[in-house]
């Protein structure tokens, strides 16, 4: 009896389906998603990070450098620098990271999250177009995962970005009100562990 129960559980777990089955394939359309690619000089965000019971707050500065690479620097309010990342056309570089955050898993997650907002390494040649009743889904494959950029049905507003494996939605980034070429507010929620980031633009 127990073995039967165990087998049933394995079968049910194994049959877990994609959370995106409600989508229908759409015909290829103009890559309107490209119009949302961030274009900015310098943007400053008031930032809060909650990670497994710990709370960090500070300022996130994102700048386009003269060579068009992007620098992302996070300091606390009193000026202590936590990290300085560089996104270039040829790669990602950690310019500085505080000892307490210098862990591969943390850096990779931050690189992925911030990179998605910046459209980092997004190739417009390999897009899967789908739609729901009210939204357009632009799927970009990334290894075993897929990143969806989701707009309203007229492709006038970029509403959110989702990251998913074949069977599970892993992360959602909600975006609101583009200002100075970047969203005014960004809320990053990880669904498989407690790691949330909220960003709100600061007028300087």
């Amino acid at each position: 009896m127990r073995i039967l129960l165990l087998i049933s559980l394995i079968v049910v777990a194994g049959c877990r389906q994609s959370p995106y089955l409600f989508l229908s394939d759409a015909t290829a359309r103009q890559t309107c998603i490209e119009t949302f690619r961030p274009k900015f000089k310098t943007v400053l965000y008031n930032s809060h990070i909650n990670v497994v019971g710990k709370h960090l707050s500070g300022l996130l500065l994102i700048k386009t450098m003269p060579d068009s690479s992007k620098r992302v620097v996070f300091t606390n309010e009193m000026g202590v620098k936590f990290f300085d990342f560089e996104f270039t056309s040829t790669g990602f570089n950690v310019k500085y990271v505080i000892k307490q955050l210098n862990k591969k898993v943390v850096i990779n997650e931050l690189k992925k999250d911030i990179g998605l907002v910046l459209f980092y390494n997004l190739k417009m040649t390999d897009i899967k177009y789908q739609n729901s009743e009210n939204e357009l889904y632009f799927g970009f494959k990334s290894g075993k995962e897929i990143n969806y950029y989701i707009t309203d049905k007229n492709c006038e507003h970029l509403l959110k970005i989702e990251n998913a494996s074949a069977k599970k939605k892993k992360m959602t980034i909600d975006l609101t009100d583009y200002k100075a070429g970047l969203p005014d507010s960004v809320y990053i929620t990880h669904h498989n562990f407690e790691f949330n980031i909220s960003l709100k633009q600061i007028e300087r």
């Binding site: 310098t42 400053l44 008031n46 809060h48 709370h55 707050s57 300022l59 500065l61 700048k63 450098m65 620098r71 620097v73 300091t75 309010e77 009193m78 000026g79 202590v80 620098k81 300085d84 310019k95 500085y96 000892k99 909220s198 600061i202 007028e203 300087r204």
Partner: protein, 212 residues
């Protein structure tokens, strides 16, 4: 030949002596009264109430992040630093208790539980209380010009050297009160805090330093 060599050594020594001195400042003579003046000023200072302007300079990025707020100190170990523009952030130090409040969350803890915070706590208190010369975490050099003393603090311990090359305290030559703090990081970035509209020894209620 020896003469030439001697001249070269002397010239190098001269250049090194000049370059070790911050621009616009001269070293204090050996028999100076700085430590007595500093201790005397600390004795007289019961409270400080001031505004501040903080500039975080990200030098490689040619960017400066400017913020403003109010600073309060009450003898012997109470500090309230409140950022009001362009974000709200509050730091209260009351003895070994610390409270940090940002726009989302408030967090209280003992500074003893956090080694870096103990050091930062000591720096803040030392800066405003004039006890920086006695802090064993740093070696101190003192310079002056007509308006200011410059107290240059260099960290001794490895864990502090990761955060600071040195911390420069600029003190008013008249009353030894702190005008400016400049914290230089190994990455070339620095944070400057200018204290303005300073009032000494006014009344500040203890309630301003409550840690919940």
């Amino acid at each position: 030949m020896i003469k030439k060599y001697l001249l070269l050594v002397l010239f190098n020594a001269f250049v090194m002596a000049i370059s070790a001195q911050p621009k616009g400042f001269t070293a204090l003579p050996a028999n100076n009264d700085f430590s007595v003046r500093l201790a005397d000023a600390a004795k007289r200072t019961q409270t400080i109430n001031s505004d501040f302007i903080q500039e975080k300079n990200l030098n490689v990025l040619s960017e400066t992040i400017t913020s403003k707020g109010t600073f309060k100190f009450k003898k012997t170990d109470k500090v309230r630093m409140e950022y009001t523009t362009p974000f709200s952030y509050l730091l209260v130090i009351n003895g070994d208790k610390v409270m940090i409040k940002d726009s989302q969350k408030s967090n209280s803890f003992s500074s003893r539980s956090n080694k870096l915070f103990t050091v930062i706590n000591n720096i803040v208190i030392d800066c405003v209380q004039g006890t920086a010369l006695d802090n064993k975490d740093f070696t101190a050099k003192v310079f002056k010009n007509e308006k200011m003393y410059l107290l240059q603090l260099e960290p001794v311990k490895k864990e502090l050297k990761e955060y600071f090359n040195h911390i420069s305290l600029y003190l008013d030559i008249k009353d030894c009160s702190v005008l400016k703090i400049d914290m230089e990081e190994p990455t070339g970035d620095n944070t400057v805090i200018n204290f303005i509209n300073k009032k000494l020894n006014g009344t500040i209620p203890d309630a301003d330093f409550t840690v919940n």
